[in-house]
């Protein structure tokens, strides 16, 4: 074999080796890329799970806080109604309804049955609020008529059944206490 033939033969061999090395390197790079992608996916999945868990914890904590707030507001409303301070009762009843709506809107917090009951309590509270406002309006109008010289001595004819409203609030309070216990159980499980 001449020197020139040997050089060409060796170059071919070296080329083949280089190709083989290239294939191996490409395979390793591809595997590394797949592993990197898998790792990224796992990290993203873990991050999503952590975010979900945090969100659930936040909503449960929020609800537990709302439950405490509910009890306090209901207690106040009963007091105001008992002393016929209808304007103050009305303000707190509106606040109570807003918090009920907030609770109702928290996604995935409660089952449909509980949500439906919450809707009924919202509706009942809504008409109780209208009733209180109607009574406030009547009292004001009669008082105004009396001030203007009309026979308004029996101003503010009661058309509101305050005991019925207190009954509705007691029902709501019992319902919230039941669900507060469930929330605490959910938080500890």
């Amino acid at each position: 074999m001449s020197v020139i033939e040997w050089i060409f033969s060796s170059a071919g061999l070296l080329g083949s080796i280089a190709s083989l090395v290239g294939v191996v390197m490409a395979y390793r790079q591809s595997t590394a890329a797949k592993e990197a992608a898998e790792h990224t996916r796992t990290v993203a999945e873990e991050a999503r799970r952590a975010a979900d868990a945090t969100h659930a914890e936040v909503t449960r904590t929020l609800s537990a806080m709302n439950m405490a707030k509910f009890a306090s507001i209901i207690h106040e409303i009963r007091g105001y109604l008992g002393y016929e301070k209808l304007e103050l009762a009305n303000l707190r009843m509106r606040e109570l309804k807003d918090v009920l709506i907030e609770l109702h809107e928290i996604p995935g917090l409660m089952d449909e049955g509980i949500r439906d009951r919450l809707s009924v309590y919202q509706q009942t509270l809504g008409s109780d609020i209208i009733g209180v406002e109607r009574q406030i309006d009547r009292v004001r109008r009669y008082a105004s008529a009396k001030a203007n010289g009309s026979d308004g001595e029996m101003a503010g004819v009661p058309i509101l059944d305050v005991m019925m409203i207190i009954g509705h609030l007691e029902e709501l309070s019992e319902f919230l206490v039941e669900n507060e216990a469930k929330l605490k159980y959910a938080r500890n499980s």
């Binding site: 309804k97 709506i101 109702h104 809707s119 009924v120 919202q122 509706q123 009942t124 509270l125 809504g126 008409s127 109780d128 609020i129 209208i130 009733g131 109607r134 009574q135 309006d137 009547r138 109008r141 009669y142 105004s144 008529a145 009309s150 026979d151 308004g152 029996m154 004819v157 009661p158 058309i159 509101l160 059944d161 305050v162 019925m164 409203i165 509705h168």
Partner: protein
Amino acid sequence: MIESPYKEIIDGLVKSTKAKKITWFKTSTQNEFKANLPSGSVSVWVDQPEDIFATRITLASIPKADFVIYNQNGDEVHKVQVNNRGSVEYDEIYGLHGLAKQSYLRSDETISGLLNDLGQLE
């Protein structure tokens, strides 16, 4: 006359109440009845005609009847309020109120049941 679409809603409630497709219940306001429907709820109230104030003082500014529409959250969406007992609007609300009261009291069933009971006693 009550404006559209509230008039249509009242007419629909009259029709459905007559067909016994709606359940009315009492609220915390005397002489008020309420019905819940999937999209919201409605209440109808009429001041008691035997209200002694009606005979002692006549105040045009005092509402004598109202019809309220609530959304699913229980918020008031619209209120038709009537101050004059002699108006067409009052008669429209009064008509629905009478049916709602009958529905709540189950007057028809009670009266026919009593007649049936008495018939069996003879």
